[in-house]
């Protein structure tokens, strides 16, 4: 009896220590990942409130001696040429991203619904070709698309970007939404149709409201993709007044000497819409991505 009593408590202790070791390794890893992702952003913020001189100092000022919002004022001042350009780029980006988002929802919703509900000839083939685009790096299509855009006279228009972003964003949008519709029991529509709805009414009144999280996720995805895109915007647009933010910022600040606080302030403001959008709608986004993972 006594030997058992002595040996039994030892085991759990050893076990707990081993588990704790892993847990600590995990925590350290997470802290490292947090610093890795957050530090550049923090540094961006800190630099944006420095003076141009302070930004270039070495060793760096970890916290600016004289924090200033001058860069932000300059960027948001419509009187000043820098501000005019920045605001125009911002507007261009907003325009391109919003139109892309609206169009991709308009196309993706019925497409995803059709892929989910209807059995038509070539359905699997079409769905596969939709995904096929995503198997190649976007750069591969840069030159062919440029030639195509030139042929149809879309170079130097925002339409060229909207069209390109749509072709790149739609596959995943359709795929994401299809998963959503797959999870909505078909009996709900059948019930609605028996209850007096047409097929279209059943979709609008019953299915659409249920797929709102998926539609929102699709919209965020399209918006962020279009908002951040650089290489196509850089290639398709050359007129200064048409540039979108990612291209505009880069061109604008590297012409003379690089104004690092200005660049960082612009970068910060560029990330604001995306972050705000994501924070507001993230619960829908998470729901969309995990939909169907668990029974509910």
């Amino acid at each position: 009896m006594s030997t058992i009593a002595e040996t039994v408590p030892q085991r759990p202790t050893r076990r707990r220590m081993r588990v704790d070791g892993w847990r600590w390794a995990g925590r350290i890893f997470l802290v490292f990942m947090l610093l890795y992702t957050a530090l550049p952003m923090i540094w961006m913020l800190i630099t944006s409130i420095k003076s141009g001189f302070a930004a270039m100092q070495f060793p760096p000022q970890w916290w600016p001696d004289e924090p200033t919002l001058a860069s932000y004022q300059k960027l948001l001042d419509p009187q000043n040429s820098v501000g005019q350009d920045f605001l125009r780029f911002f507007w261009n980006s907003l325009y391109v991203s919003t139109v892309t988002t609206i169009l991709s929802v308009i196309v993706a919703v019925p497409a995803a619904y059709a892929f989910s509900r209807f059995r038509f000839p070539g359905r699997n083939f079409l769905f596969f070709t939709v995904l096929l685009r995503n198997m190649f790096p976007a750069v591969i299509f840069l030159v062919p698309l440029f030639i195509l855009m030139r042929a149809i006279g879309l170079v130097n228009t925002h339409g060229s970007l909207i069209l390109t972003y749509l072709t790149f964003g739609l596959p995943l949008a359709i795929w994401l939404l299809k998963g959503f519709y797959d999870n909505i029991p078909v009996q709900l529509e059948q019930a609605a149709r028996i209850d007096g709805a047409t097929r279209f009414q059943a979709f609008i009144l019953i299915v659409m409201p249920l797929s709102t999280p998926g539609i929102i996720a699709t919209a965020i995805y399209s918006f962020i993709g279009a908002w951040n895109e650089y290489i196509y915007a850089y290639t398709f647009l050359s007129k200064n007044e048409q540039l979108t933010l990612p291209v505009g910022i880069q061109r604008f600040f590297s012409e003379n000497t690089t104004d690092f606080p200005g660049l960082m302030a612009a970068s910060f403001m560029m990330s604001v819409p995306v972050v705000v959008l994501f924070l507001l709608l993230q619960r829908y986004f998470v729901r969309a991505l995990t939909e169907g993972a668990v029974k509910h």
């Binding site: 709900l188 019930a191 149709r193 007096g196």
Partner: protein, 365 residues
């Protein structure tokens, strides 16, 4: 309310015939159960009546209209689904109101009808809840309510009780039966559970492989199954089917088992066997029509006990006879041990005989 007629109904998917020349008439106010194993075509048949899938050929008549080409919404039907199909984003009240709103009824009339349905189904206190906040039985009741609120010509029910636990299922079974009696509603009810069909329906349509095998009252189907499939599907425990060899000796017809014993048939049963296409005959007997003896008595045949299952009220003995398993129910105070030698006596009046080749029930010629 209205009657429903299915005339030579066929539904094919590519080369696969899901529903094969099904014809039946559901009279006004009748409760008809479509029953059969999964994949037998019963749900497809119901969906055809509902208009959720198009018919390949044949006619569906509801009331006096051929509804083949009508949308589900124009067929004046209501349907209860296995998963209830309640609109998850709507409250119970709005779920019940939806079919009325779609028919553009005035708001006060909708309100009156919804409240009336809620009162009938005893769920007035649940009206503001969302479906996910209800128990399975309550969801099921809302689904019934949504069907009832419209006062349709026909109710279609697709395994409405399958998602409930055993106890609730028995309770809801009697509620639906009561619902039918009170409303004099025409109901077509799909189930794979023969017990539901037998207990609730006025008539049952037994289906298998897309074919309608038998359409009659549960008592008739139970007493006179048309073939071996129906015989073994209806009734629990299943009817025992024993393959035997028929022969005639000294003017008497006897059935011989694989073990070499023979059973002399009554004149009526002998006439039935005479109509068989071959000497292969299958003897069918329900558990309650077989008597178990511990010693040989005249007219009994020897068998070996296989398993013994006491259930309290009655003990089920499974015995091996001519290579088949035979179910016998005995009083719990009779003790039988596995592998024990027993003798079985069949009630000749309630015996079923099937043709070993065609599997059809044999009739006296």
């Amino acid at each position: 309310m209205a009657h429903v007629v299915l005339r030579d109904l066929v539904k094919t998917y590519g080369g696969f015939k899901a529903v094969n020349d099904v014809s039946l008439t559901v009279n006004d106010g009748e409760f008809v159960a479509l029953v059969g194993p999964s994949g037998c075509g019963k749900t497809t048949t119901l969906n055809l009546v509902a208009g959720l899938i198009p018919v390949t050929s044949g006619d569906i008549v509801i009331g006096d209209r051929v509804v083949n080409d009508l949308d589900p919404k124009d067929r004046d039907i209501a349907m209860v689904f296995q998963n209830y199909a309640l609109y998850p984003q709507k409250s119970v009240y709005k779920n019940l109101a939806f079919p009325l709103q779609m028919r553009k009824l005035p708001r006060d009339e909708i309100d009156r009808k919804v409240k009336e349905a809620a009162r009938v189904l005893d769920m007035t206190h649940l009206l503001e809840r969302k479906p996910r906040e209800l128990s399975g039985g309550q969801q099921q009741r809302v689904a019934l309510g949504r069907a009832l609120v419209r006062d349709p010509a026909v109710f279609l029910m697709d395994e409405p009780l399958s998602n409930l636990d055993a106890k609730l299922r028995v309770q809801m079974r009697s509620e639906i039966k009561r619902f039918h009696q009170d409303l004099k509603a025409t109901i077509i009810y799909v189930t794979h559970d023969q017990l539901e069909a037998v207990t609730m329906a006025d008539k049952m349509a037994v289906m298998n492989g897309g074919y309608l095998l038998q359409y009659d009252s549960p008592a008739q189907v139970f007493a006179h199954p048309v073939n071996m499939f129906v015989a073994s599907f209806i009734g629990s425990p299943a009817m025992s089917l024993v393959p035997l060899e028929a022969s005639t000796a000294n003017g008497n017809t006897v059935l011989t088992g694989a073990e070499g014993w023979s059973l002399e048939l009554s004149p009526l049963n002998a006439r039935k066997v005479a109509s068989a296409t071959s000497r292969k005959v299958v003897l069918g007997a329900r558990h309650s029509t077989i008597r178990l003896h511990k010693s040989a008595v005249p007219g009994s045949v020897p068998a070996k006990a296989y398993t013994v299952e006491p259930t309290g009220d009655v003990t089920f003995v499974q015995a091996l006879l001519s290579g088949a398993i035979v179910n016998i129910s005995v009083s719990p105070n009779i003790s039988v041990a596995p592998d024990e030698q027993i003798w079985l006596e069949f009630d000749q009046e309630r015996l079923h005989l099937f043709d070993g080749e065609t599997e059809l029930a044999l009739k006296a010629g």
